[in-house]
């Protein structure tokens, strides 16, 4: 049957039905599908070289659109984490022994190796809820809540955001606030900052639980520039207060001339002198974030830049570029490049010098140092069925620290105290039910 003949059937049928029933339908049919839930799911592997952190996670984000664009989103992610992380101590030419965070055992790092704390074996569950709805014609509003739990960490937060369209919907201004409270309950308790690493079974100077409060404010402008160009600019302010240190990190204390760690008399505990790190109990961050999306005959360029500065004297720049390149009607490639650069926190010390007066704050955490990072990746996505989509993404991440000679004392210059961090990210995603 040709297409034209097919089309005439419903009209003929309507006429025949009208004759049969002696009447037509008083009203035409009105049936709509109740929108169902749509799902965005992903499996992610993050793995660092040299037996450092390995992280496997599964995420499900489900969304339901209710009548008139009111949207409920629920997200759940489960992480499984294993591996080791640098504890902050320096590489030495002799074996180094450390007390484990539990305070019940010690472990020893071989000469020439970066001391790693390998007690990480953690799982994390994160849950988020978000409700979004238009208010009248020009306003939109959303409220959300988030919570995550690890065996030694609990986070709860709420947020709200309001936006308004101006200028024939070409400009959108938005503002939001978020508050969160985090609670730490580390293995073996929370150490007091800048005190000597304890011996096994030594219980003094520890509290059990610490917490921090985070308050965020964000203002944003989104502007439609042209039919295929959209930009967004956000300013955000973040204020954290409370316990901001990492209870598992330490700083080596070294000889002012040789730069070698100061040995301690034999005991069931650390072989060298180390202090628990100590960070200020407040941090105020400001960031500016700009993002542009540009459409050019099917391809979409997504570029963003973020500048962050804080009162710990960390400044950072992030550039993120993605180019979505369609291949045929139903698939696309998306190369991704990200560049990151940060300066060190004012209290970042590779080591502390024995005999010098103690600074107010100190941390040797590599994440507070001066480093650059680059991510390069490729994503391939393809449509299945009507609007379902699958994608795979493979990325490589490299972090390289910048230590100047002037920061190194004596023998420190001969050792790699800030080795590169190399990681790969693999993600498989499946979106369905849209």
């Amino acid at each position: 049957m040709s297409k034209k003949d097919m089309r005439s059937i419903s009209a003929t049928l309507a006429a025949a039905t009208c004759t049969l029933l002696g009447t037509g339908a008083p009203q035409p049919v009105q049936a709509q599908e109740e929108p169902g839930w749509d799902f965005n799911t992903a499996l992610l592997y993050y793995g660092e070289q040299d037996d450092r952190i390995q992280d496997l996670s599964v995420s499900v984000l489900t969304r339901k659109v209710f009548v008139d664009d009111r949207i409920l989103s629920i997200g759940l992610t489960v992480y499984a984490l294993t591996g080791a992380s640098p504890n902050g101590a320096l590489v030495q030419s002799v074996p180094q022994t450390f007390t484990k965070p539990s305070g019940k055992k010690t472990f020893t790092t071989a000469p020439g190796e970066l001391p790693l704390d390998n007690t990480f074996r953690d799982s994390r569950v994160a849950l988020s809820l978000d409700w979004q709805q238009p208010l009248g014609r020009l306003y939109a509003f959303n409220v959300g809540a988030s919570a995550s739990a690890e065996f030694d960490y609990l986070h709860v937060g709420v947020n709200a955001k309001l936006s308004r369209d101006f200028n024939n919907r070409n400009t959108t201004l938005s503002g939001g606030v978020a508050v969160a409270q985090d609670e730490l309950d580390p293995v073996g308790g929370v150490p007091v900052g800048l005190t000597r690493m304890r011996n096994v079974d030594e219980r003094t100077g520890r509290t059990r639980i610490e917490s921090k409060d985070i308050f965020d404010v964000i203002f944003g402008v989104t502007q439609v520039v042209s039919k295929n160009f959209l930009v967004q600019l956000n300013y955000s302010y973040s204020d954290s207060s409370g316990y901001l240190s990492d209870p598992y990190k330490i700083v080596s204390v070294v000889d002012g001339t040789t730069g070698d760690a100061v040995p301690l008399p034999p005991a069931d505990g650390p072989s060298h002198l180390n202090f628990y790190e100590h960070r200020p109990d407040s941090r105020v961050k400001h960031s500016l974030y700009a993002q542009g999306k540009y459409y050019m005959s099917g391809k979409v360029l997504d570029a963003s830049y973020r500048y962050m500065t804080d009162d710990w004297e960390i400044d950072s720049h992030t550039i993120d570029i993605r180019l979505r390149w369609p291949v045929g009607e139903r698939s696309y490639f998306e190369p991704h490049l990200r560049f990151y650069s940060q300066t060190a926190a004012e209290f970042y010390h590779l080591s502390l010098i024995d005999g010098d007066p103690l600074p107010g704050y100190a941390s040797a955490d590599y994440r507070l140092g001066d480093f650059d990072a680059i991510t390069a990746g490729l994503k391939f996505g393809w449509k299945i069925g009507g609007s379902d989509e699958m994608h795979v993404r493979l990325e490589a991440y490299r972090q390289s620290g910048n230590l100047s000679r002037s920061q190194l004392i004596g023998n420190q210059a001969d050792r790699d105290n800030y080795p590169d961090l190399n990681a790969i990210i693999f993600q498989f995603g499946y979106m369905f039910g849209k």
Binding site: N40, A42, L44, S59, L81, S85, F120, A126, G144, S146, S148, E150, Y153, H155, G157, T171, A180, D182, L184, D216, V221, V224, V225, S226, K227, N228, L230, Q232, L233, N234, S236, S238, P247, K285, S287, A290, K293, Y295, V300, D302, S304, Y305, R306, Y307, M308, D315, S316, H317, T318, R324, Y340, S341, Q342, L368, R393, Y397, L421, I425, Q427, G429
Partner: protein, 73 residues
């Protein structure tokens, strides 16, 4: 390097201040309505990346509100 970024940011603000003369008509939004032209195209990927970099770097957020957690590794 930094001065370059600052110039970029300020020129961006300059562009935005000309907002009222920019934009498109209501019927010219077919491209802007596409999924791939939304500011966040894949919410899970965005959240995942935010969490990875939050755990490995000293900066976080900027795009919106982050997820939190200790990121202690």
């Amino acid at each position: 390097m930094r001065s370059f970024f600052l110039v970029a940011v300020f020129s961006f603000i300059g562009v935005l201040s000309g907002c009222s003369s920019m934009g498109v008509e209501a019927w010219e939004r077919n491209v802007l309505a596409k999924d791939e032209m939304q500011l966040t195209t894949d919410a899970i990927e965005a959240a995942t990346d935010d969490h990875i970099y939050f755990s490995k770097e000293a900066s976080s957020g900027g795009r919106g509100f982050g997820g939190g957690g200790c990121g202690c590794n």
